[in-house]
Symmetry: C2
């Protein structure tokens, strides 16, 4: 379900490192030459190029790229060249350190990735920042939102497919009672959302819809929408249909006044080798234009070329 | 720092399995014969015996031992024969399912074990019970205690030795302010206790003592002592001096009216191959009698023999 195109035969890491050096050496940078190599290599191949480049030229390729490129292209290339778990760690840190933290990034990591993979991101986070992701989540949020984010970011969820139907019934009833009473910040809400496995929560949400005739996400559409309620709904969307959720994030990034390039880059870079093909299909179904067309409309230059290459063009 | 004694040369797992079979077959059980083998083998050797026994006799050795033994000896042997991570998982589950849950067991796992080891226990828990430890912690506690237990049981803490002295100063000040105002259940309390690394917390607690002339544990000695406050103090003791903490747990188990055999078994079985030697030394320093003497006074029969063997006799 990946979208990137790797042409065979693939040159050796050293040949690629030389091609990269040819693109960056001297005055000016040959961005096209860079993209021809780096946008068409898998994560493992990119890491091999980094190592070959550093061994041969005694400089850090990522630092060199940062000094050669600028703007959205520089940011996108930086993320693309990081080892994927390290990239997720950087994205989480950037999201938390923003003046107005970008909490959905944390929710995506915690609720879409499987628990072992999320754990690997936490290890990468600790390796890079010398403290835990949980510490930063707790330090950069407050109140109910902190309770929710901290709980979902810290739990090591069960990943099995076993479901306790009796429990799902009981907990969908608890959730319905709490929603009826607008007790959204009740600890039970957070307990259920943060600790139950995704399979169990999907069962609970299905029973909720069957019994009460409305999806739990819709029943949380309260006015005025608080950041906390919006985070609860993000959790639900990430658990019930991650592909649809990412389509929504892309649409929001593209359609908002002034494209949100950071989000556009984040989704495309982190999904290009995973499920971006599925996201593209769903995007077209939803918007009647391809994601590529949307990207061409909203971006330009080498940044546009890079995103299109990651999208499989 | 282990206490168990393994005599060389060690018989093969199959020879040991035969000796075990000789001790259990026919009418009656030869407990002495069982203990001569099983109390003097490492965890890896015991697992090898289990496998050899099952392969050769087509029955589960643990189930056979359960049917042959009874009372405290049966419980102790059951725990001893489990793979250590699995044993921790069982102990956590037993602690949570009690009518009045034995929360210190959870705090010990979360605060004394290093984060990777605690994680391995969580995996063993999920493997055995098909749901997460966090779910059970959250379901079997309420109120402030739940907030604390859930937070410490879920966080994947940083295990490095780097300390942020500035942060330690700031957070010891926050803790002091909260204690002055008796705001023990403030979220900041739980945030700091549950997310900071043990090294960082030790720095914070040291600064607290330097600046305010009282240890943080003593400053939480409030009357009437609630279960929550007592849990907070257990967290502090487990982080600052686990050996001293386990000595206290053993002393409480031994000195209380009617020995608490479950706790005595738990500490001896789970530490015999780790740090029981240090615990014994500290116990003697504190009580002026050896732990062995205390065990002889409070227990009897084959259960006594078993505990003494694990203590290195």
């Amino acid at each position: 379900m990946a979208t990137i195109v790797v042409h065979e035969p693939v040159p050796s890491p050293m040949e690629d490192a030389e091609a990269v050096m040819n693109a960056v050496k001297g005055w000016g940078t040959n961005e096209k030459g860079l993209l021809e190599v780096l946008a068409h290599r898998t994560a493992a191949q990119r890491q091999a190029i980094r190592h070959a480049y550093e061994e041969h030229y005694h400089e850090d390729l990522i630092k060199r790229l940062e000094s050669e490129l600028s703007g959205h292209l520089e940011k996108a290339m930086y993320r693309w060249m990081l080892e994927p778990l390290d990239c997720d760690a950087v994205l989480a840190n950037v999201a938390l350190k923003k003046h107005s933290p970008d909490y959905p990034v944390i929710i995506e990591l915690a609720c879409v990735k499987d628990p072992e993979e999320f754990l690997a991101v936490k290890r990468a986070y600790q390796w890079r920042y010398k403290h835990s992701l949980e510490e930063d989540v707790a330090s950069h949020s407050t109140g109910d939102l902190r309770k929710l984010l901290f709980a979902i970011a810290s739990t090591f969820k069960y990943n099995g497919c076993e479901i306790d139907a009796h429990l799902a019934k009981a907990e969908s009833h608890i959730l319905h009672e709490l929603i009826e009473n607008k007790a959204y910040n009740d600890d039970e809400f957070i307990r259920i959302f943060a600790t139950r496995s995704n399979a169990q929560l999907n069962a609970t949400f299905n029973i909720f819809k069957d019994d009460y005739g409305i999806s739990i996400a819709k029943s949380l559409l309260e006015e005025p929408a608080t950041e906390y309620l919006s985070a609860l709904r993000t959790v639900i969307h990430c658990i019930t249909d991650p592909i649809k959720y990412f389509v929504k994030v892309l649409r929001d990034a593209i359609h908002q006044h002034g494209t949100d390039e950071d989000t556009l880059t984040r989704i495309i870079v982190t999904h290009a080798e995973r499920d971006l093909r599925l996201i593209k299909e769903k995007y077209y179904e939803r918007d009647n234009i391809t994601l590529e067309t949307a990207v061409v409309r909203e971006t330009s230059g080498d940044y546009e070329t890079f995103l299109l290459a990651l999208l499989g063009n």
